[in-house]
Symmetry: D3
Subunit: 246 residues, 6 copies
Amino acid sequence: MERIDKREHSQLRPVKITRNYIRYPEGSVLIEMGETKIICNATVEEKVPPFKKGSGEGWVTAEYSMLPRATEVRNNRDISRLKMNSRSSEIQRLIGRSLRSVIDFSLLGERSIILDCDVIQADGGTRTASITGAFVALVDACYRLLEKGSIEKMPIKNFVSAISVGVVEGTPLLDLCYEEDSRAEVDMNLVMTDEGEFVEIQGTGEQAPFSIETFNKLIELGNIGIKQLTDIQKDALGDLSNLIGG
Amino acid sequence: MERIDKREHSQLRPVKITRNYIRYPEGSVLIEMGETKIICNATVEEKVPPFKKGSGEGWVTAEYSMLPRATEVRNNRDISRLKMNSRSSEIQRLIGRSLRSVIDFSLLGERSIILDCDVIQADGGTRTASITGAFVALVDACYRLLEKGSIEKMPIKNFVSAISVGVVEGTPLLDLCYEEDSRAEVDMNLVMTDEGEFVEIQGTGEQAPFSIETFNKLIELGNIGIKQLTDIQKDALGDLSNLIGG
Amino acid sequence: MERIDKREHSQLRPVKITRNYIRYPEGSVLIEMGETKIICNATVEEKVPPFKKGSGEGWVTAEYSMLPRATEVRNNRDISRLKMNSRSSEIQRLIGRSLRSVIDFSLLGERSIILDCDVIQADGGTRTASITGAFVALVDACYRLLEKGSIEKMPIKNFVSAISVGVVEGTPLLDLCYEEDSRAEVDMNLVMTDEGEFVEIQGTGEQAPFSIETFNKLIELGNIGIKQLTDIQKDALGDLSNLIGG
Amino acid sequence: MERIDKREHSQLRPVKITRNYIRYPEGSVLIEMGETKIICNATVEEKVPPFKKGSGEGWVTAEYSMLPRATEVRNNRDISRLKMNSRSSEIQRLIGRSLRSVIDFSLLGERSIILDCDVIQADGGTRTASITGAFVALVDACYRLLEKGSIEKMPIKNFVSAISVGVVEGTPLLDLCYEEDSRAEVDMNLVMTDEGEFVEIQGTGEQAPFSIETFNKLIELGNIGIKQLTDIQKDALGDLSNLIGG
Amino acid sequence: MERIDKREHSQLRPVKITRNYIRYPEGSVLIEMGETKIICNATVEEKVPPFKKGSGEGWVTAEYSMLPRATEVRNNRDISRLKMNSRSSEIQRLIGRSLRSVIDFSLLGERSIILDCDVIQADGGTRTASITGAFVALVDACYRLLEKGSIEKMPIKNFVSAISVGVVEGTPLLDLCYEEDSRAEVDMNLVMTDEGEFVEIQGTGEQAPFSIETFNKLIELGNIGIKQLTDIQKDALGDLSNLIGG
Amino acid sequence: MERIDKREHSQLRPVKITRNYIRYPEGSVLIEMGETKIICNATVEEKVPPFKKGSGEGWVTAEYSMLPRATEVRNNRDISRLKMNSRSSEIQRLIGRSLRSVIDFSLLGERSIILDCDVIQADGGTRTASITGAFVALVDACYRLLEKGSIEKMPIKNFVSAISVGVVEGTPLLDLCYEEDSRAEVDMNLVMTDEGEFVEIQGTGEQAPFSIETFNKLIELGNIGIKQLTDIQKDALGDLSNLIGG
């Protein structure tokens, strides 16, 4: 089975991470995975949600949105329907959980970091690319705090990145583009650390249920992708990489 | 490690499915799993969403909500905040996807079935119990259509049910109650068919990432639960069970 | 004129009050009047609305809602239209006023009790049954405060219950079911105390105006119903009944 | 007991009805009852709500609102809170029901009349004054249809007007101003026809329950007020009065 | 070119300013310009928006709305669509900016004045008439503060008023009525002080771009109108006029 | 007076227009004016608003929004407050009017073009840059229609662009950056055609009223900017420029 863009079944699309993309945020990344392009901005706010008040601990949250014309057909803005898109709502909860899994909240101190992931062009895999890109913006925002002396140690325990895998025409594939995704029999999103552990697994067989064997093959493919994404994050972060974990 | 209610690690809570619970819906089930109690009502509507119009095919969707005092602390109603609860939004998307995975939409014909899952008492596992209960209500609603001659054959290809599994204090457990769920290091929801295939896997390690070994143990536990839930669904449905699949 | 369910003109439908229906609320009642079934949950909150702050006095309020399929035809949820149903809004104001009329707010102290009345099955008379059931839940919630020592004396001055009366085909009837209600020429809801005094009278002759004679006959019928409902409340409450008034 | 404005207990405040107040609506009335001032505009629309489509019959509905500074303290506009004021919602339902009770919908034909009641200055009794004033605007709008030949006969069967009565310091009073209303032990709104029949009775004893004797005295007072209001409506309408009923 | 109401090209419609129109607000004006009629109510609130807190300075803001039937065709209320009308939103921002331009916020002290401009009848020029009328209500509200001793000096530096000008059939006209406005090639709103300086200029050539010459002619016409409006404001305010500026 | 970035008083910031920025829209431009960066996407839809239906004519409209972190301080998204930002609402109305002024709607045919202007980085002048950039995207979208044969002739009559001018410390300046804008005594936005005619003038003297002399100097400065912006648009459009007008 030949992929639409001639990629190997286990090949990522070209990934490019541009740091300091927007000038104002504490961390700002443009992540490109093939034709998918997302601006990930990290904002530090010196306050926490009510359930963290007085705890001495911080919080990390995310918001996700697409420009109306990030897709082939224009989508109305949420505000024109007065309703948050339920897909966006689900995705931003996933991004938030994924990033929180690698944060040491007591090291962060009683402050919040908000990751705004705005998709300016979508070609599949926007939720996973958001996580991969937002992680880098988060590191930059934390480093800013470290430089200013607001925190004493980087509060990030591990690298985290994410990738989609799926089965198209019976074939397990890594990093689905939109055209593949829309035909996939099984669709899975993996969020993993640089140590190969899972932060989140979301697998769906809406067109047809799938077996444990299929599942295992997809996990294997995902592992390949995550390893490369971790390396790409490390390249992008340069020396800052050494401040993570340890 | 002893569980709060003395259950075995691989033991379900008592499950009770009451059919025809509310008199008006085409299918109506009260499902009780321990102290979790959910009314699952199925409504047949002779119309489909825009993207299905003229296709000759039907659609299945779900809505999920909790009564304000289904929980220890009262939650404000969505309408008082003018916002759909994002957790509810995510859960109802999951219920809808899970049920759609076992439906033959061309046999259903151009009509919709809406599954309203209203939690009247919550003690963990409400999303999985909703799926298990809503499936039975869905069968009843389809059978009503069959009886009336609106459809010629039951449009349900498989049984589908769901269960939560998780790791608490390092121990993999089946069917977490709220108290266990709130302490879980890993939390996973499995939606599976009676043939042991996966419809949906959602695993989260927010407190800490988890390994493939942990994952495999949880899948094993989940399999045990799903088999029992399928049997309970069959018992509840009696002769109607024979109209599914085949 | 024979009633659809063969009842006498002045006969209530079978009434059943189940206390402690849901496990978490401070008071929880399932009230059934014929096929009308409503969960009435009472929540105590240790805060009051702004206009009561610092007054040393408490407040009682109510919320009313129907499950989408409590009725023959499914109703969309309020949140999907982003608007509170105006009928629900009117009803919950009535429930709140009715219960407040028998409360001694200084005995309650500076705290609130919220009565959530959720109709799971509707067959007419849901607003009056909500009042009758919510009163019992309110007594339970107050008794819980008394037991804990939060208050020194039960703050409830009188029993309060409610019933619908109406004119169908020229005949005054007690306790209309939905089928009767939808054909009624005159429709009246009475909220009364155990001492036979009025808390609220709402009479409507939308199909045709009505005379003072008709009105008086309906009041008479209502009196019969209220007396029985008070007795049913007393039976349900057992010894707690003695703590009211006095 | 002397009233704040020296009126007799059974005396209305000065009532003034100005027709053709705003130039565009099909009927437009400014009604003044003492310091209460309300603009009642009637709009004819050549369409009906879904449940009347194809019936050959019309519909009448009402909307009620107050200018932010119609009262001593400024109220925020509904749109700034994104919620319809629940008091307004209840009142506009009452106005609509009251006017519909005297309309022959088949004579009106398949069209709607909307009554917008906007309170520009409030001093008690705004809901009852809205009904009394809106009735006159409704007559004008119907007459406009008659003149144009859109309808063949006036579709109005009776005069309808409304008045508040209440008990203040133990004394039954007619037509309460705001200061009296805020101190009232019992508060009742009566909507009646020119034939002395009831369209709507709404009595509330929130501060204390009330007896049937009190109720009867209030009804008596209300009758006095309604008779005068009917005469004032007739004066305002002049010859058009003869087209009502008969 | 003859105007629809025979006015000269540079002639205002009859202007009438009625002070103390509604009894409760601190300032209340009914302004009539021809058939345009607007109630302008000024409310003093002893609080300021967050960005002014602790500054010792006050704030002035405005809200603008039209009754549903202020126009030939009925407009739905904002609340029924759950969205603020964007035209109203733009107009109220203009009114607020215009009034703020002549206020000395330190003299006003840390309090707010809200100007509610509610159009009860619209025939063009509602935004400019709102400014002209709201200014007078603002003066009254400030004088009330002065009388009470809350402020020591009137905080109003200049008179401000506004007028529309436009080009219809190639002819520059002053003070367009609705019929002219809807045919205008160029439409301009001028907000000016009594010293002939500009506070706001908004010119639009949606039907066709316009030249600097056209612009200058319109400014000239506008000047004529503003001078007269300032005189009308002075007449309406009487002795209070002397407290402005100086 | 030296400007913060050393520019001449009459000097534009560097302007860069990138066409085909996003791959899906019919026209897509990234416009950069100094540090202000806006994505302008044009979408063609084969439908028109109700008031244009059956007219044979098209429509052009715009939407404007800022990413939460386009500014120094993060702004909450509109959807989280359930309210369209009123500044955005005003700006998108301006963009729409400006572009419509140069369109021949009968040549466009009965279809709509929506211009989405999303500010990814803001440093003053976002509304004027949006107009300048959106015009280029609009030309591309129209040319796409011409190429496909959907229209026979380009429906664009003139170039249109926009620029801000203002007075800072008494000095008239062209193209204010944010820092200058926030200190400006007078602030004006000019929308003009390539023929030097005005489409829209919006001048505000919120800090202090301004004279006709000031106004004339600002117009002069604006003219200088508009001429250069027209040239930049022509450069960006290349041969397509010849299809505009004549």
